[in-house]
Amino acid sequence: MAEGPPALELDSVSVRRSGRTIWHDASVAVAPGTFTAVVGPNGAGKTTLLKLLLGLMEPASGSVRVLGEPPRRGNPRIGYVPQRRSLDVDVPVRGVDLVGLGVDGHRWGFQVPGARRHDHRVRVNRALDEVGARPLSRRRVGRLSGGEQQRVLLAQALAGDPDLLLLDEPLASLDVRNQVVMAHLVNRVVRERGVSALMVTHDINPILGVIDAVVYIAQERVVAGAPSEIVSTPTLSAIYGAQVEVLRDSHGHVFVVGLDQEAAHPHDH
């Protein structure tokens, strides 16, 4: 595992949005150079955690640190792939153009031909190669399949040479085969680059075999730890109440029962 300050560090953080508490008193840390899953039911505040780290949202109380610093907008050390519907079919740009914006799209002006251009191309090609998307990169992005688009977007995030990747539901629109491909791609990037990755997912199973840690968000509470330690009946029951149960099938897939229903009716108690 990489040296340095934790990838993220929350100290008794509470988050509120339009008067509603999303979660509160979260104190968790994620070691650098790790692949971490952020799981929990829909609407539990998983994306909220990413917005907090990106500096797009302020905590109501507590302190947040990303890579040892307070969060700030436009942090070049973070690569971000937001949750999305697929790109419009007619978007008139190629994958290579999107990835190029990941290198210098935030700079004013336009790209001047010259020495910088070579460096730009090297970074774009490196990022594309890492996710195996170079052969796709000359085609219109809107014409690529969901899995291919996700790889191009991951390359865009990597093109900025980040120390932390924030990936919001990159597996959501993919079939099982592509989910596995994506999981292994992110895992390889984490190991080879020594970066940290935080992947939000509603289903932990496709990445269970490759992650180092889990951040579990449900019922206004956030916990973190090793996967086997967090995703277990005793731990989740102790944290969230007696009715939580973790089931395992013969393939090692886990199913958490008892948290979804609660989250779907947060005002019933």
């Binding site: 907008r73 436009g74 973070i78 697929s86 079919v89 914006l101 990941g102 004013w108 002006g109 969901g146």
Partner: protein
Amino acid sequence: MITDVVGGVVTPQVTWNMVRDIAQLFDYDFSRHAFAAGTVVAVVAGAVGYFVVLRALAFGAHALSHIGFAGAAGAGVVGADAVVGMLLFTVGGGSAIGLLGTRVRERDVAIGTVLAFMLGLGALFLQLYRGNVNNTYALLFGDIYGVSALALLITLAAGAATLLALACIYRPLLFASLDDEVAAARGVPVRAVGVMFMVLLALAVSDAVQVVGVLLVFGLLVTPAAISERLTARPARGLLLSSLLALLFTWLGLAVAYYAPGPPSFYITTFSFVTYVAVRVGTGMRERARGALPVLESL
């Protein structure tokens, strides 16, 4: 048939000598002004239009031209130059539309509401103004042969400023237009860039109205860009091609209108329309021939 600035009827004839015919296009001041203004307007409209199509702002561009109409009519009431009123109204309206954000459904309803109100305001101003009908007609359908030396100078200055500003915000604007969430996370001031673009669009619209008028702004601002975005998937190339197409349509329109009956705006919009249809049919056939309909490809 066209009338020159002093009201005399000019009837140039097409001959077999093309060089002579083309040289004849520049015989008169009004025609030279028309080509100069048309060139500036087309290049600017093509470049700005690229982002109009990319940002799905076609309706906003349409609305801005109507807002400009109210401004021009209002300027008539207080005795100011039409261009001044148009610039004031479009820049104000453009900033407001920019602040509405990028959620298309909400934005379009808001734009439509403002558009209707502005047209009403324009109707009121016209009645107060009681100006001659010719001015109103010129505003609605363009009057490129009526461009004065002063108006040409204003057009040139506004056009140069617009292109310069567009070059300055090019990369973050492209980033924000394609993916506002990632752009915002990378530190692009997405909303500010959006408002800046709307101001540039306001300038481009005010310029374009002189050539093709309020009702036909689409022909220069949207159609060339739409054609270009079907033909190329490279942003810089697409922007240049969009400008070139707008320029080509404008020059052809002016040249044909010089010899044939009908206003230049008719020929400009006709050339852009016909090219658009041809390109749509052509690219559609190419895709079917590849057996790769986009819908099937994404399954």
